[in-house]
């Protein structure tokens, strides 16, 4: 089982659309896939038409009172399941850091509370080949948990000079992890090829860094319309440039991570 997390400190950069489309493509490739919508806004759940509600809320899941397995819902697509969002996830930091641990240890990066998600996901290994975690935008105990649980952190970047800084900050943070460290794989999202700045940044970074995808996701209205049609772009417009771009990104990601699987 490979765990992919779509993550960026910044919001509105295409994390959820990436998670939805990549999970859909993984399932289409025959991998038994589950997407956990960790964002209390529930955008991924909305796109799969699943109500953003978990029985017992985030507390039941995080405390282990309710197995994660119980919360899983089937989507309309073969091989693709979803753990829905719940509005109580907004308090997930508190739930993860519930005080039943050594205070000194919890203060350290990568301490026990930072690995709770890993433990919750472990029982899914027999049933799934791929797990996608769609994270809320923040630097928090939730994101730290996600980074510890993930095998691959998929980072959508918008083409600005600051995005390079964001990627470096994340790489440095993960570099401090003891033991398991996720692979960082970034890609440019919302790219307007007509803009010189966009072209310059995406081409330069893809050439310089081996953890930046060659594929870029263009800024296209069909991607925005995913929330209208409540479906992945591969369903709304399978022949579109956007659908082709996500397919290419998935192939690049799969080929890069295949040795881990």
């Amino acid at each position: 089982m490979l765990i992919y997390a779509t993550y960026n400190i910044k919001g509105g950069v295409g994390k959820t659309t990436a998670a939805v489309n990549l999970a859909y493509l993984a399932a289409g490739a025959g991998l038994r896939t589950v997407l956990w919508d960790l964002d209390p806004q529930g955008a991924a759940s909305f796109m799969f038409r699943v109500k953003p509600k978990v029985k017992g809320g985030g507390r039941a899941l995080i405390s282990g009172k309710r197995p994660l397995d119980d919360a899983i819902k089937g989507t309309d697509f073969d091989n693709l399941d979803l753990v829905p969002a719940d509005f109580t996830y907004r308090n997930m930091d508190l739930l993860l850091d519930d005080g039943k641990h050594d205070v000194k240890q919890s203060a350290l990066p990568g301490g026990k509370p930072a690995r709770k998600l890993s433990k919750l996901l472990a029982p899914l290994a027999d049933d799934y080949d791929a797990v996608f975690l769609d994270c809320p935008p923040s630097v928090s105990l939730v994101s730290e948990n996600v980074l510890h649980a993930a095998d691959v952190v998929v980072v959508p970047l918008i083409p600005t000079t600051l995005s390079v800084r964001t990627l470096d900050q994340l790489s440095d943070f993960v570099g401090e992890f003891k033991g398991h460290r996720p692979d960082i794989f970034a890609f440019f999202s919302m790219v307007d090829r007509r803009k010189k700045l966009h072209r310059g940044i995406t081409e330069k970074l893809a050439a310089e860094r081996d953890n930046v995808a060659q594929t870029v996701i263009p800024a296209l209205s069909v991607i925005e319309s995913m929330s209208v049609w409540r479906s992945p772009v591969g369903v709304i417009a399978p022949g579109s440039a956007a659908a082709r771009a996500y397919r290419a990104l998935w192939v690049e990601l799969r080929d890069r991570e295949e040795p881990r699987g």
């Binding site: 799969f48 038409r49 699943v50 109500k51 919360a71 899983i72 819902k73 089937g74 309309d76 399941d81 409540r230």
Partner: protein, 548 residues
């Protein structure tokens, strides 16, 4: 059918109603869900039709064991699926299979299905029983968010082959993970539609019904429809017609050489027919003495015609056991013997096939059926009355009950008398003769079994069977020793007898001789168990109670 939460059959009797039932189901589900037909990549609502061929032995060994075996052809490889009452029990990929042809256990070569059914089918071939082709339509059941919360699967099976008769559609509600409630509600709506029956009935039974068959419709048992009060001639003709049906049913399988048991069952029915003619031929009013003698002689001809092939079949069927039983010789030493047996068998089979395809055989079967049918038609019902206990009270001579008593008593008396006369010094022929009388008695008990109390009959037949096994072992081993000697001489004459093979054959005959001696030593005990005072009392009880 795809796994689902609940299964149903649109069983509205008339095929013309089935479309209406499916339409009513869709309408019922529309009351609570948006029902959306799922389109495949090709744009069709139905997925391509799936073919299934049901396989079983001619005598339904899998069905009798509660199993069904499906052959599912596929492009990447075909599959055998064995199911029991609780679902799939074993599956096995097969390549190069042609399901229209018979397949013996060797063709399953140690796969999961082969291992599971080996002891059940033994030497019998798997043959196609019926084939169906099923087109499946899928409908998504959507909630208010247009989310799929359950699926309706509509399977439309039809006969596959020359006939394409449609079979009752199968319906299933498949649940979507995390949406058990909507699936339950959909199943409730479906169950309430008139003409819909709940249950996962595979289309096998429906397919067989359409072609005028039913599961388990062949058996070599003599289960003629007779009652104690019916006229003796009518009962006798019914028994003989039942035997003739079995002969007829097996002839084609013998000629196609599907497996050895077609010939075995045919031979048993011929032998039973000959015994029946001996036991109650006189009761067949409408058949002259000359005709009786003619038919008896003709069935002896059929029996003799089949003997050489059957004897060689027995050698070949036992061959692996024989090889395993060798102590001094090596298994390969007997290979030349096996080759010789197979050659002989091919030659004898050609002679057998010529006989069974001859006008003489066809004429015999035709005439015999015509005679027996006429006897049945001409039989005036005897004056039988039904008592409260349900037994027929014979009120006049010439009833089946009286015939059964006389035949069985006479046959038993012969066994008791001849068996009692056997001493340790008696010649082998005395035991062989007793074996024949035992067979007659066994057949009498089988012919008239519907008239006897099953429990009393089971005890008598059990003891008789053990005595027969002992006598059979004694005679068969002797016959086999004689045959092996004859075959060895023939192999020598044909210059096909390596010294090691002859030595190994000598060892085999020594083993057979030891078995024969053991059977001879066991005889007194077996005979006493069947025909001592207690055994005679059991027989009297059977004859009194069963036909009263």
């Amino acid at each position: 059918m795809t796994p689902g939460l609940a299964f149903f059959v649109a069983d509205g009797g008339d095929p013309q109603n089935w479309d209406d039932i499916v339409a009513a189901v869709l309408a019922a589900l529309s009351a609570e869900f948006t029902v959306a037909p799922e389109r495949t990549v090709a744009g069709a609502v139905s997925v391509p039709a799936a073919r299934v061929i049901w396989l079983d032995t001619f005598d339904w060994r899998l069905h009798k064991a509660g199993l069904t075996l499906e052959y599912v052809p596929g492009r990447g490889g075909s599959e055998l699926r064995l199911s029991g009452p609780s679902g799939l029990e074993a599956a096995q990929q097969v390549t190069g299979w042609r399901p229209a042809r018979p397949h013996l256990l060797a063709d399953l070569a140690g796969g999961a299905v082969g291992v599971r059914i080996a002891s059940l089918i033994a030497m019998r071939a798997l043959i196609p029983v019926v084939a169906t082709s099923t087109a499946t339509g899928v409908y998504r059941l959507l909630n208010e968010d247009d989310k799929t919360v359950a699926k309706l699967l509509v399977d439309r099976p039809a006969l596959d082959g020359a006939r394409k008769d449609p079979l009752p559609p199968r319906l299933a509600i498949a649940d979507v993970r995390g949406y058990a409630g909507p699936a339950r509600r959909a199943a409730r709506l479906l169950a309430a539609v008139p003409g819909v029956v709940q249950g996962a009935r595979p289309p096998l039974a429906d397919a067989l019904r359409v072609i005028g068959r039913r599961p388990g419709d062949y058996s070599n048992k003599v289960d003629a429809d007779i009652t104690a009060g019916m006229p003796a001639a009518g009962a006798g003709a019914a028994i003989l017609l039942r035997l003739l049906d079995t002969i007829d049913a097996n002839t084609e399988g013998v000629l196609a050489d599907i497996d050895t048991e077609f010939l075995h069952d045919l031979r048993v029915s011929v032998r039973r027919t000959r015994s029946a003619l001996k036991l109650f031929g006189d009761a067949l009013t409408g058949l002259t003495r000359e005709e009786l003698a003619f038919f008896a002689a003709e069935f002896k001809w059929v029996g003799d015609l089949t003997t050489p092939t059957r004897d060689l079949d027995v050698h070949l069927l036992d061959f692996e056991d024989t090889v395993r039983g060798l102590a001094a010789a090596k298994p390969d030493d007997l290979e030349a013997f096996r080759t010789f047996l197979e050659q002989r068998r091919r030659r004898e089979f050609r002679a057998l096939a010529r006989g069974l395809r001859s006008p003489r055989y066809a004429g015999l079967i035709q005439e015999w059926r015509a005679k027996l049918t006429k006897i049945q038609q001409d039989t005036v019902p005897a004056g039988g009355t039904r008592t409260r206990a349900g037994y027929h009270q014979q009120v006049a001579d010439g009833t089946a009950g009286l015939l059964a008593t006389v035949c069985t008593r006479t046959a038993f008396a012969k066994v008791a008398k001849r068996g009692a006369a056997i001493t340790p010094d008696s010649p082998a022929e005395a035991l062989h003769d007793l074996r024949k009388r035992c067979k007659e008695l066994r057949y009498a008990l089988e012919f008239f079994a519907p008239l006897y109390d099953p429990a009393a009959s089971a005890k008598v037949v059990g003891d008789l069977k053990r005595l027969q096994d002992c006598l059979g072992e004694f005679q068969d081993t002797e016959v086999q020793i004689g045959e092996i000697r004859t075959l060895a001489a023939a192999m020598l004459a044909a210059h096909e007898a390596p010294a090691v093979t002859l030595l190994a054959m000598g060892e085999v005959t020594a083993g057979l001789a030891a078995r024969q001696q053991a059977a001879r030593a066991d005889f007194e005990r077996r005979f006493a168990a069947f025909a001592d005072v207690a055994g005679q009392r059991r027989m009297s009880t059977l004859l009194r109670g069963g036909t009263a």
